[in-house]
């Protein structure tokens, strides 16, 4: 190989690597593992393009905001997240991929949002963020982005098992005045048109996710709340034990799907 060819190869590699860091848009096969398909699979081309390119992805401003909050000193201890966890690209890689988890301290399931808040209270001496606040979404999205492309795999055995069963039961119970279960749409009818929407499998590998009809990035629990309210069922509180158990079960349904944060959905 002559020198200019070597240079071109090096340049190509650099572009490729920076491209990986700033964009998703993987080959479509990557969005499916066995019969489990990311919501990306059911999107129109226009929405896919928005997710694929970080410069167009409307969820990326939350990620950028999260990067700032990661370094922001707050609370009585005079610390920021980065005081203890330094470079998020290393220390936070893979974290979002294994949440939610069983938490021995509380004896229940805890998710990324609630772990972040606990760190703020216990390690930083700062106030917890409100669930679904722009700040909590931003830092959650920033952390989850460090796991991009890694398979979502949650632990459902041992102490997590009863919570997994609880979440599974939730998924199959018909609710509300409209009297539908999650499974009736997301297990039985993915790919089918529900008015103008194509029903997906209801996977969560791309959360926090930018929802175009809401004009904002949003959490899994907000999505659960919306689906519940659509059935005219009384939603549970964001961060409630019921939604945490459901989050665990739904994450397991999508086991192996790559983290796509911030996803873009209709």
């Amino acid at each position: 190989m002559n020198r200019s060819a070597a240079f071109l190869v090096a340049l190509g590699l650099t572009l490729l690597l920076s491209g990986i860091a700033r964009a998703q848009g993987w080959p479509i096969e990557r969005y499916q593992v066995e019969d489990r398909k990311s919501g990306y699979f059911y999107l129109g081309q226009q929405t896919r393009v928005l997710q694929d390119d970080d410069f167009l992805n409307p969820g990326m401003s939350a990620v950028d905001q999260g990067a700032g909050l990661w370094r922001k000193v707050e609370g009585s201890e005079g610390k920021s997240c980065s005081s203890c966890h330094a470079n998020a690209a290393q220390t936070m890689k893979g974290v979002a991929a294994r949440y939610p988890v069983f938490d021995a301290k509380s004896g229940g399931i805890i998710n990324l949002e609630l772990v972040i808040n606990r760190e703020r209270v216990e390690k930083m001496g700062a106030a917890p963020y409100k669930y679904e606040s722009p700040e909590l979404l931003a830092i959650t999205a920033y952390i989850a982005t460090q796991s991009r492309g890694l398979p979502k795999v949650v632990e459902i055995t041992g102490p997590a098992a009863p919570f997994f069963e609880q979440g599974k039961e939730f998924f199959f119970v018909r609710r509300g005045q409209i009297d539908l279960s999650c499974a009736m749409c997301h297990d039985d009818r993915p790919g089918v048109l529900l008015r103008g929407d194509t029903i997906s499998q209801g996977q969560t590998n791309e959360f926090p996710m930018y929802r175009l009809i809401w004009h904002t990035i949003s959490s899994t629990h907000r999505m659960f709340e919306w689906c519940n309210a659509s059935m005219r069922a009384e939603p549970y509180a964001l961060g409630s034990p019921e939604y945490l158990a459901l989050e665990l079960y739904v994450a397991w349904r999508g086991r192996g799907l790559p983290i796509e944060t911030p996803g873009v959905r209709k």
Binding site: F55, P58, G176, I178, V192, L194, R195, L212, S230
Partner: protein, 160 residues
């Protein structure tokens, strides 16, 4: 193009739980105590007697069944209504339904299709019992009023 400038306006949520006020047909956020349930008798998988004394109005019936804020049939069914482009494909199309069913058969289908097919996805439009965790503002209320049911039936009967 910066991300901040990139902005897309999208159609409203299709299963919108929120309700638009101002439509005479819309059961906007329901107010006051729920009306008492009309009693009905099931005979051979039909409800032969109308739920009200007022004869059904097909024009109002069309507005009832296409009312986007109140579980429109279009969520799941296709209907021969070209001005409503977004139509679901979950359930059988309702074209010609007026030739296939009688008013008495449609009445049971709308009131409570679960009496025919317990596992059906179709909601019961006139039922209050046996439901789980109904949202507070809908508790004790049916999706359709008795008159909505009667109006919907006569509209469906025009779909020959």
């Amino acid at each position: 193009m910066t991300r901040a400038l990139f902005h897309i306006a999208f159609a409203a949520a299709l299963l919108a739980p929120a309700v638009v006020a101002g439509d005479a047909v819309a059961q906007a956020t329901p107010q006051g105590p729920p009306p008492p349930l009309v009693k009905f008798t099931i005979v051979d998988n039909t409800i032969p007697e109308p739920l009200t004394d007022v004869p059904g109005d097909p024009d109002r019936g069309k507005r009832v069944v296409t009312n986007a804020s109140n579980s429109t049939c279009l969520i799941c069914h296709r209907m021969p209504i070209p001005e409503q482009p977004d139509q679901g494909q979950i359930a059988p199309p309702l074209d010609g339904i007026g030739s296939r069913y009688t008013a008495a058969q449609l009445r049971l289908r709308l009131v409570n299709p679960k009496l025919l097919t317990p596992e059906t996805m179709m909601p019961a439009y006139y039922r209050v019992d046996g439901l789980t965790r109904v949202q507070a503002q809908y508790q004790g209320r049916t999706i359709y009023s008795a008159q909505d049911i009667e109006d919907a039936i006569v509209y469906l009967l025009t779909l020959k």
